[in-house]
Assembly symmetry: none
Homo-oligomer: 577 residues x 2
């Protein structure tokens, strides 16, 4: 070590430091710190020199070789000091990183709060009258924001939870076709989960597990995904993390691949749960890449995602000074029910690699592809990923009440960092066991669950789309997912988001929940997502209510037209006098 | 950022640097580097001062608070610079860090570094494991912080998970008496959970529930707490929220009652999980109210919490400009195993009311009181709470693998806002059902679980404390919780946190995990928490290893003494010549 330090120039305080070094009780730290100080001095000098050079030769913008070397040395020295200090201090938990300071944290709504009651990125200034009703002396500003966000996102869902339709007991309860939930195979699932192998309990299941999940489940997820994603080689269980929902996995990923205030590209229409997670915790901006419903020369199908659109959004964001760290894709898509072709997928991944973006790809609906002409390709099936360490797959089995989501990533660093989230987003051991047993039972999955699920999805899809056709409502006819993306703009007059909301409320008056396009950040008013993965009886009642609602909407227009006509007539009569 | 750097002294070259900062094409790097240089200057000064002090007072070996803070700032700044340099390097591709040379590992290399460029992921191969924990091309700054925090908090826990002691199969695996986990009644729990009523499944359990939890569980928790906390009136199920751990409930509470950068008082020694949650998400500062082990006129027992101490901490914090929003209490206490008397509890609550503080009180160990002379009083048992809408109770059943925690609060606003967290911290429906059935079975709880748990805790406590008495180790003899808080300072020489860490590692070498007091922010070195709620065989083997470890520690001293004596003898011999 000594010969290396000889190669450095003498720092101004070295004589003093040298003496100290020999006597210090922490000679290693001192040695490193002194070298680090010297390197920093040199680095500053070089940056200054370079700056002067640039003044003379403005075209010479690149880093000089010497500066690059200094940076390399800096990085390395700092790593060494970090680790030395950590090994001495943090492993005893003595050392607390000063993360409380808002400017270090980069968190929104931070330090100025002591003076001004609200931070800049806080939501309340945008709140409606209804929402401000939530202001409470018991809650902090952040608490009020969370409450308002929750209320605006979930108030109708909560109303549904408290007043659900039931064929025998509550025929005037809500039917929810606005939720991303498969209710078609609950009977199969109940039967399978009732078998005796599910009820096994051992000590480990009742105690803390590794925060990445129980090893048996990591292994089974890796085996399952190898098989069902058609991976070219066995996937590594060490790269799997299981958390208590796909949303938690998404959240954890954004937390570890981006810093607060940085951005991720999100093609819209787009699943709003991700937005909720970002606003609650990660403070990552989701930059909407708006897709168009029109088919053009560039877009050969509705709402087509092209690299051109991604690139434009990225460059626009950069021009505005945003730091874009990733791209999130949902495949099969929610809400479009769309599947990316292998070629498209590859183009998106190549684009991401070109710009050093992480790709977070949600494949939760992998097993909900029900129409053969549209084959599904998992990114895990690719022979070679363009940027494997920055490609992260989210997957779940699709039993919403299970609260289960899994990550597969080729980056050990990302898997390890996401594992930390198991401390706050863990799943009960008993549920982990049941999930493992389900995944192990390939015979049941291959011969019972997948084919039944597929045929029921087909049947439900057929029923709903036939009804929509009869009503003359356009929709995207894709072969996967649990929903139909339909265009109800013919019931809007004028075609605005205000009218879309009124139509949404009219469905609600008829005790039917659908999802308006606005919730998915769709840029054109009139689109709705309808989930068809519900029991036939529910679908029948729901479509009856649907017809009543649009009928009431048309009746309302008729009345309005008559009213307007009468209003017009009165002045003409009076003018005739 | 500016206010942070303002607090630093002016470095010698700052004027020069300041000018550069304003013109530099890399202002972020410059800002950080300048702060880093200043921090290094301060750190060196402090080490020197400390060294001079040690010359005068050789017994004063411990790190000063100021030095520790400098170290913390250093580590954080360095992490930031590393990542900034890295992210610039990889994203612009303009800068290739020449870290290819093997000699850069431990040392600083020269100009030859730029010869062969390296790909980003090649770097990690040449760095040690410790270094790769901090350097990663895949992670953001925040990701690196999270990874480092997780690694330093849980590395030994993960080692234990992968190599657990087992009487027959793995007799040289780790025994973990450093964890807050009751393993004494796993057999009872397994038997109860295996009965047929547990295996019920219905549609609702497999689907989304209200984010506050299933209504049936909210109702049962309210009934259960009414009974076991001896509440004067029936508790309201609407005030209950269930999440996937007590820690998640704590996190959600801090999120909704405080803003980022605000503070909560936390008497120490204190459960470190709360610190982890705060640092990961809520960014609330936990202000440590340090309790003393000594019995004095003001403190009639060890580590006594008094209103005077709380008040002093609050006023000190306010003087420093901190906004204190709450007080967190753990009753029965973790790690002390202590119970607050009804009078003390009332004093704390009155204090909190006086200063408009929320009180978050964790009563998870309510059912783990095993010694009658120390009766437990839940705040829910009070006839009238001083400030009911700001008093929030956390409770769990104590089956760690269940990932279950409940909130009871009289504030509907707080309950509603905490409910939002069910979206990301929810529990599976199946687990909710099982928990509900457990809580409903009062006969089993009253006649089987509680009495058996109590007698086994008594027995385990007796075994451990007898062993400690035989070894002459002082400990707090309280009648609740799962742990003994013991003083091992007689095995530290000198009595410093560095030595405490070495002793911790000596236990680890003997495959025994204990928790050092430093982890609980205890201000006196030498205290350890030992969890005794483990199987008798495990306790026996653990105490055998314990004796071996302290024996090895004493052997080490003896050898050191002989060595020192020999060293002294040589000069005296030579002087005798």
């Amino acid at each position: 070590m000594s010969h290396q330090s000889d190669t450095l120039h003498k720092p101004c305080g070295q004589t003093k430091g040298q003496g100290l070094r020999n006597q210090s009780p922490h000679p290693q730290v001192m040695e490193l710190i002194l070298r680090l100080r010297q390197t920093i001095e040199d680095y500053i000098t070089q940056l200054e020199t370079r700056h002067l050079q640039q003044d003379r030769e403005p075209e010479k913008q690149g880093h000089s070789q010497a500066t690059r070397e200094q940076e390399a040395i800096l990085v390395h020295l700092m790593c060494q000091v970090v680790n030395l200090l950590h090994s001495r201090a943090t492993s005893s938990l003595e050392l607390q990183l000063p993360l409380h300071s808002p400017d270090i944290r980069g968190d929104v709504g931070g330090g100025q709060l002591a003076q001004s009651p609200r931070g800049p990125d806080q939501l309340s200034h945008q709140l409606s009258d209804l929402e401000t009703a939530f202001i409470s002396y018991d809650l902090s500003n952040r608490g009020i924001d969370i409450s308002a966000l929750y209320h605006s996102t979930f108030q109708d869902f909560v109303a549904y939870q408290r007043d659900k339709y039931h064929g025998g007991k509550n025929t005037w309860g809500f039917i929810n076709l606005g939720i991303n939930e498969n209710k078609l195979c609950v009977d199969l699932m109940t039967e399978r989960l009732s078998r005796s192998d599910m009820n096994y309990i051992d000590d480990d299941l009742l105690q803390y597990s590794d925060w990445k999940g129980h090893a048996f489940l990591q292994e089974e997820v890796a085996r399952f995904l190898t098989n069902y994603s058609k991976a070219p080689a066995q996937l590594d269980p060490e790269n799997v993390v299981v958390l208590n929902s796909c949303l938690s996995v998404f959240l954890a990923l954004t937390m570890v691949v981006s810093d607060p205030g940085e951005a991720i590209l999100a093609p819209t229409p787009f699943y709003p749960g991700f937005t909720f997670a970002s606003r609650l915790y990660s403070k990552v901006e989701l930059i909407h890449v708006h897709l168009d419903s029109e088919v053009t020369e560039a877009a050969t199908c509705h709402f087509q995602l092209t690299v051109g659109k991604l690139e434009k959004a990225l460059l626009d964001a950069r021009l505005k000074g945003r730091k874009v760290k990733g791209l999130v894709l949902i495949n099969p898509n929610n809400p479009l029910g769309d599947i990316y072709s292998r070629d498209s997928l590859n183009e998106y991944l190549e684009f991401a690699k070109r710009y050093n973006l992480h790709v977070i790809i949600d494949e939760i609906s992998m097993l909900s592809v029900f129409d053969e002409p549209f084959p599904f390709h998992s990114v895990l099936s690719m022979e070679s990923l363009p940027d494997p360490k920055r490609t992260h797959v989210i997957w779940g089995f699709g039993i919403s009440g299970f609260r289960f989501g899994a990550l597969y990533t080729n980056s050990k660093d990302v898997a390890s960092a996401v594992g930390a989230f198991g401390f706050l987003h863990g799943i009960s051991g008993i549920t982990q066991h049941k999930m493992c047993r389900l995944l192990q039972d390939r015979e049941w999955i291959d011969n019972v669950y997948v084919p039944t699920n597929r045929s029921r999805l087909q049947e439900a899809h057929r029923f709903i789309t036939n009804q929509l056709k009869a009503l003359g409502i356009p929709f995207l006819n894709r072969g996967s997912g649990l929903y139909v993306w339909m265009n109800l703009k013919k019931y809007l007059d004028p075609c605005t988001f205000e009218e879309e909301l009124l139509l949404y409320r009219r469905f609600l008056d008829h005790k039917l929940l659908l999802s308006p396009g606005k919730a998915y950040m769709c840029k054109e008013p009139g689109w709705f997502r309808l989930t068809f993965s519900d029991k036939p009886l529910h679908l029948k009642v729901a479509m009856h209510r649907f017809c009543q609602a649009v009928g009431a909407q048309q009746q309302h227009w008729l009345e309005k037209q008559v009213e307007d006509a009468l209003k017009e007539e009165v002045p003409s009569l009076s003018s005739g006098r």
